[in-house]
């Protein structure tokens, strides 16, 4: 209850109030001033509602489709990588959100190697960061364009994962955090959804594909139990919408069909709210940390081992962590 008992836990008893706990407040002020960057990539073949979902997640028109691209654009012949950045602000906190879209993925007749442009893009971002880090005179804040999270959209067939899904996740789960979601979940009834989820989870487990949150990175028991609960409900079955309707005197985001209105934020209808809380409200920072501490380090170690070192690394004191 008082500061003394809180501080006693460490070891030496303090004889007065020092003020160490204000560090939290200082960090908060600093973060608010600098703001942060978050890069999210959406992958899935066309027509699965990727852009709509991203718009719904960030409650603003941030997807590529809203940034002036035509709705019935032709499907590109090869996978392209298009990224759009916006700065959104909430409660004094600024976030530079970059959404990376991958049109053309899985849309051709022959989809061999359609994951390669994506893999290349992710590695390019790591490379950019590595080059900056390894410089003799480094920037105060290295711009972070690394992909922190990749949302993979699974088609709601109701049966199993498609071969393309398995191939993609197998190859990319070690370079980026993959969060699989079941797109257009209003296609399936609740029972069909449960069965599908179980089957998908089993298949992923049998193939050794680890999606985020990965079991091996759980720090302690508390994390493990939280993450276990989340892993049991993944992949989240989501529905996206940017249109509002009136339901029971409330304005809700939803989809209006002839037999009812699907409410996006109603946990009985779909798991969008869960995905949003997970992605933004509780694990945003963790996503960035796992990307920086694990995926980026893996890439860096591989690069430095292969090359025998790039440039001499200067021992320039501490540099501002841009996390």
């Amino acid at each position: 209850t008082d500061i003394f008992s809180v501080l006693k836990g460490g070891g030496s008893t303090l004889l007065g109030y020092i003020g160490i706990d204000t560090i939290i407040e200082q960090m908060r002020k600093k973060t608010m001033k600098t703001g942060f960057e978050f890069n999210i990539m959406v992958v899935g073949h066309s027509g699965l509602g990727k852009s709509t979902l991203v718009n719904t997640l960030f409650k603003s028109q941030v997807s590529r489709k809203s940034a002036g691209w035509a709705r019935d654009e032709k499907i590109p012949k090869t996978v392209e990588i298009k990224s759009v950045s916006h700065v959104i602000e909430e409660g004094g906190v600024k976030m530079k959100l970059t959404v990376v879209d991958t049109p053309g993925f899985g849309d051709q007749i022959n989809n061999d190697n359609c994951w390669e442009p994506i893999s290349k893009y992710i590695n390019e971002q790591f490379e950019k960061f590595l080059k900056e880090e390894v410089n003799i005179t480094r920037k105060k804040r290295i711009p972070d364009t690394r992909v922190h999270c990749c949302i993979y959209f699974i088609s709601p067939t109701g049966h199993t994962l498609r071969q393309l899904d398995m191939e993609f996740m197998k190859r990319l789960s070690h370079s980026v955090n993959i969060i699989p979601v079941i797109a257009k979940a209003d296609t399936m009834t609740i029972e069909e959804r449960q069965e599908f989820k179980q089957r998908v989870r089993k298949e992923l487990e049998m193939s050794g594909i680890e999606f985020y949150p990965q079991k091996e990175f759980d720090d302690d028991m508390e994390d493990k139990s939280d993450n276990d609960k989340i892993r049991e409900t993944m992949p989240f079955a989501v529905v996206g919408s940017d249109k509002e309707y009136q339901v029971n005197n409330k304005r809700v985001l939803g989809r209006k069909t002839a037999w009812g209105i699907v409410e996006v934020e109603n946990p009985n209808h779909c798991e969008f709210a869960q995905l949003r809380d997970f992605l933004i409200r509780s694990h945003l920072q963790d996503l960035k940390e796992v990307t920086h501490n694990i995926h980026y380090e893996t890439y860096r170690a591989k690069r430095l081992n292969d090359n025998g070192g790039l440039h001499p690394i200067s021992t320039n004191g501490t540099h501002d962590s841009n996390l």
Partner: protein
């Protein structure tokens, strides 16, 4: 040119009957005969897995063709596209229908789907070929009609447009079978999205000049109105289900969601009833007719124009070839002769080459033998010389030895002579 004398073309006048003759009963006779014979219908369903094809078939024919125990796509491991057919006999009101459903599991499921339409095309062609052979036989009592009468193509409800795979498939199959595109799992789309999607699909179909099945115009105005309404709704957006749910006291087939029940047979919810009526109740016979008159005839003329026919078969061509049968025969004979000549020339060439080779081989072995012969001769000579040398040496030695012996003898003689002389001296 022989001119035919002009004869008056008989005009067909319509006469009124003065009594009841009875040929108005003809349709009934046809009807009774067909009912006794029974009907056959083959329906093919094509689309990626998970689009609800099996459920739709079950809903259309109100049977459990694909029961719960039927291994669904989750348990089937396919490396290539298979074509499976299942036959079922349904009876209704004394009319029996032999329904064959052809399924294509594995279509569009792999990472690389190039040519996944080939097994489908092969199947359709093989059924047409079977019918062609049956038709050309001498004994034609039983001609089972297994040709595919209708192909339902399932489009995934992306809301954007057709996928490259859809376009490729329909382009290749539209002149072999009646293609009816359907929007699967239509309860994913809101009514506005559905409208936009349908318009987009029809636009793309016209762009790529895909000929989907067209409903024929009838003389009846009422029917025409209905047909026009159906045409506007193409492609039909369907939802399938055999689960009965209670809605407002009524029992309906539908899908239960937390936000409502999507009714299968409700015209406002989806176009299932339109599809069922069209497919079964009104246009089944027309589909069979179009298959027989258009698609099958296309196949047949292509096939027969390409076949090299012997004398026996030329009588069957109904003048659809551009040349007369005799000319065809003549040409074939010529071709055959040319082929023979060519083969002969080739064989001669091969023969020459072989002879040359053999000759060369013989020459080589001859040269080899000579060489060896030379070598042996040389060896022999060397040995001979050697021997001569040795003999000479031996002779020399012998002479030497003989010479020495003579000297020794001479000495001995001299010695004995001198001894004798000295002996004589003493006496």
């Amino acid at each position: 040119m022989i001119e035919r004398p002009e004869t008056a073309v008989p005009s067909i006048t319509q006469r009124n009957l003065e009594g009841y003759v009875g040929f108005a009963n003809l349709p009934n006779q046809v009807y009774r005969k067909s009912v006794k014979r029974g009907f056959e219908f083959t329906l093919m369903v094509v689309g990626e897995s998970g689009l609800g094809k099996s459920t739709l078939i079950n809903s259309l024919f109100l049977t459990d063709l694909y029961s719960k125990d039927y291994p669904g796509p989750s348990q089937r491991i396919k490396k290539t596209v298979q074509v499976e057919q299942s036959k079922v006999l349904i009876k209704e009101g004394g009319v029996q229908l032999t329904l064959t459903i052809v399924d294509t599991p594995g279509f569009g499921d792999a990472v690389d789907n190039s040519n996944c339409w080939q097994p489908v095309i092969n199947y359709i062609d093989s059924k047409c070929e079977d019918f062609l052979n049956a038709e050309s036989r001498v004994n034609r009592r039983s001609m089972p009609d297994n040709r595919v009468h209708c192909c339902l193509y399932f489009i995934a409800p992306s809301g954007h447009g057709l996928k490259p795979l859809d376009i490729e498939f329909m382009k290749r199959l539209h002149d072999k079978v009646n293609v009816i595109p359907l929007i699967a799992k239509a309860d994913t789309l809101t009514p506005e999205e559905c409208q936009l999607f349908k318009k987009q699909i029809m636009k793309e179909i016209q762009e790529h000049k895909i000929k989907i099945y067209e409903f024929p115009d009838t003389e009846d105005d009422e029917d025409n109105k209905l047909i026009r309404k159906i045409k506007e709704k193409m492609p039909l957006a369907v939802v399938g289900s055999n689960v009965v749910i209670e809605v407002n006291g009524k029992k309906v087939r539908g899908r239960q969601y937390p936000w409502g029940v999507a009714e299968v047979e409700n015209g406002e919810h989806c176009d299932f009833t339109v599809l069922r009526n069209m497919l079964i109740r009104t246009h089944m016979q027309d589909l069979k007719d179009v298959t027989n008159n258009v698609h099958y005839e296309n196949y047949r003329s292509k096939k027969l124009a390409a076949v090299t026919c012997n004398g026996v078969d030329t009588t069957k061509t109904k003048g659809q070839l551009t040349k007369s049968p005799l000319a065809q025969m003549e040409e074939e004979r010529r071709e055959h002769v040319m082929k023979m000549k060519k083969m002969e020339a080739e064989m001669e060439q091969v023969f020459e080459m072989k002879v040359k080779e053999k000759k060369q081989k013989l020459k080589d072995s001859e040269a080899e033998l000579e060489r060896r012969h030379e070598q042996m001769k040389r060896n022999l000579e060397a040995q001979y010389k050697d021997l001569e040398e040795k003999r000479r040496v031996f002779e020399d030695e012998k002479n030497n030895w003989e010479a020495q012996q003579r000297i020794l003898e001479q000495q001995k003689l001299d010695a004995s002579k001198s001894v004798n002389k000295s002996k004589e001296k003493f006496f």
